[in-house]
């Protein structure tokens, strides 16, 4: 369903289904795994039909998540390669978090923060899968040192991964207009970081996917741009590698 023909398409249905598979399996894994980490969470096992069922199901859900995550990874890793622009973005990230996003450089489909999140989650997922298999006694019987290493890696990595996902979810809630991309695959034309840049950013939902990261605010006063040695105008063109420059004046 396209809510507004002028909306920008960010994710295909297949990409959204993939993301939801990962998301649901992550929630189930956190709910069934935390009880084995700290007794405070032990009641969560009741969601799975008791602690024994939680123990039985947890690793299978883990396999599902690992596979679904792998597909997401293969789909998006090229878009998440870190560039010099991302470093500039990350350098200024604290200002954006503080509510001032005037200095944030223009980005591709993903901004520096999203890319760091992507690679951190990929690393966690790899560690979780390897350590999880090491401690899966229903199918494997590794040497005790391997099992202990698996246990000591699995729990803290899970905590880091839960923390990363909390940031991921909060960012989606914080930046308004983001969550709908997860539901419908579209964002409004105002949502990306350069609404005035011409080209695909303005193409309707039927066209190519929007290649822009979330908008990171509108400057009230155009800030000083050391690169251009002039006041930066709001409609500074997008990097030519990403946007064909149409010659439209700012």
């Amino acid at each position: 369903m396209i809510r507004d023909p002028k909306d920008l398409k960010r994710y295909t249905a297949s990409e959204r289904l993939n993301h939801w598979t990962v998301g649901i399996s992550f929630i189930l894994l956190a709910l069934s795994g935390l009880p084995f980490f700290h007794p405070a969470f032990f009641p969560f096992t009741q969601f799975f039909g008791g602690p024994v069922w939680a123990r039985i199901l947890h690793p299978y859900i883990g396999v599902l998540m690992a596979l679904a995550f792998l597909v997401i990874f293969l789909r998006f890793w090229q878009l998440n390669r870190l560039t010099a622009v991302d470093k500039a973005w990350l350098k200024n990230a604290h200002k954006m978090v503080d509510g001032d996003d005037h200095d944030m450089p223009e980005q591709g489909k993903y901004n520096g923060g999203q890319k760091v999140m992507f690679w951190a989650l990929a690393l966690c997922m790899a560690l979780m899968t390897a350590s999880g298999l090491a401690i899966w006694r229903a199918w494997f019987g590794f040497d005790i040192t391997v099992v202990r290493l698996g246990a000591v890696v699995h729990a803290p990595t899970a905590a880091v991964m839960i923390a990363l996902i909390m940031v991921h979810v909060y960012a989606a809630i914080w930046v308004k207009g983001t969550v709908r991309a997860m539901w419908y695959g579209t964002v409004t034309r105002a949502w990306p970081s350069s609404t005035t840049a011409p080209g695909t950013a303005r193409s309707p939902a039927s066209d190519a996917q929007v290649r822009l990261s979330p908008r990171i605010g509108r400057p009230v006063d155009p800030p000083f741009d050391p690169l251009l040695n002039q006041k930066r105008t709001r409609c500074r063109p997008f990097p030519s590698s990403l946007q064909p420059w149409t010659g439209r004046p700012c």
Partner: protein, 304 residues
């Protein structure tokens, strides 16, 4: 199997203190390896009393049978041939749970009350609460607990907690024909051991001694060894057993650190949202897009 008539002082996956009021004496089983003849009567008694039947198995070239502990064999005799002081020695050790004062299995267990420690020192598995994760195996420094292939519950020697609760000695102790296994208060057992060690030293076993490893806070199953300086001779009895550092980090530091971080992050996010407000598209941008749309529409109309 757990018998609830004994006071429980420590309980797995429980953050509040268990019963502490009644003080009972600590018990211990003393296994005098130097007196053991390897008859396996203790294995049979254990199997009889606890209704366990291990597979008959085959000869693997040693007297070991069953060759390893299992859910059906809570104690096994391990036979080691070694040469000490220029003489062949046939060392026979009765292997099984050591009932540590600081049990790694209990520390690792995620299921509340599946592993308990009684006031008398016995560490017992309560299979009713066991979820079959095998964390006890990961935590044990002596490689004792075994997961059953039929019910996925963990099993090990209970030190016959059901017999001890009613004032009887464990089945293996009751049956031992040479008196190599004795049972009593830990204090008394240490005294018995001391007498025997003095005797052994007189007979030329200079390194004879008691195995009551301090790394696990001492054990409630102790050995008298002829070569206490080399416990590994006895089918790899660990020299300085302790709960693995990996298990301690996993079940120690990680827990409060992770929970505090996640709690701080949730609260931090909420407070950030409240103090900084959401990151929204400005009215100005929205208006701009609307204006453009209107201009576009007007242009099309003009063309038409």
């Amino acid at each position: 199997m757990a018998l609830q008539s004994l006071d429980i002082v420590q309980r797995s996956a429980t953050t509040t203190p268990s019963t502490q009021a009644r003080k009972t004496i600590e018990v211990a089983k003393l296994i005098d390896v130097t007196t053991c003849i390897g008859c396996k009567a203790c294995q049979v008694a254990c199997s009889e009393w606890n209704d366990l039947r291990a597979d008959v198995g085959t000869c693997v070239g040693t007297y070991d049978n069953p060759t390893d502990l299992s859910d059906q064999a809570w104690t096994v005799m391990r036979f080691s041939e070694t040469e000490e002081n220029g003489k062949l020695e046939w060392l026979i050790r009765k292997d099984g749970c050591m009932h540590c004062a600081d049990p790694g299995c209990l520390k690792a267990c995620p299921s509340p009350g599946a592993i308990i420690q009684y006031a008398n020192g016995i560490v017992d598995f309560h299979q009713e609460n066991c979820i079959g994760c095998g964390y006890c195996v990961t935590g044990c420094p002596f490689n004792v607990p075994r997961l059953s292939k039929t019910d996925s519950k963990a099993y090990k020697c209970s030190l016959c907690s059901d017999r001890v609760a009613v004032g009887q000695e464990p089945a293996c102790v009751k049956t031992c024909p040479t008196g190599a296994i004795q049972f009593g208060s830990k204090e008394d057992m240490k005294e018995v051991a001391a007498t025997r060690i003095t005797d052994l030293k007189k007979r030329g076993f200079d390194q004879a001694g008691l195995y009551d490893p301090p790394g696990v806070g001492g054990t409630h199953v102790m050995y008298v060894l002829h070569h206490a300086d080399k416990p590994t001779l006895y089918a790899n009895l660990p020299l300085n057993p302790a709960v693995s550092a990996m298990v301690s980090i996993w079940k120690g530091l990680t827990k409060p650190l992770a929970i505090a971080s996640l709690a701080a992050l949730s609260l931090g996010s909420l407070f950030h949202y409240i103090s900084k407000g959401p990151n929204e598209v400005s009215k100005e941008t929205e208006r701009e897009i609307e204006d453009e749309d209107r201009a576009e529409a007007a242009r099309k109309e003009k063309q038409a």
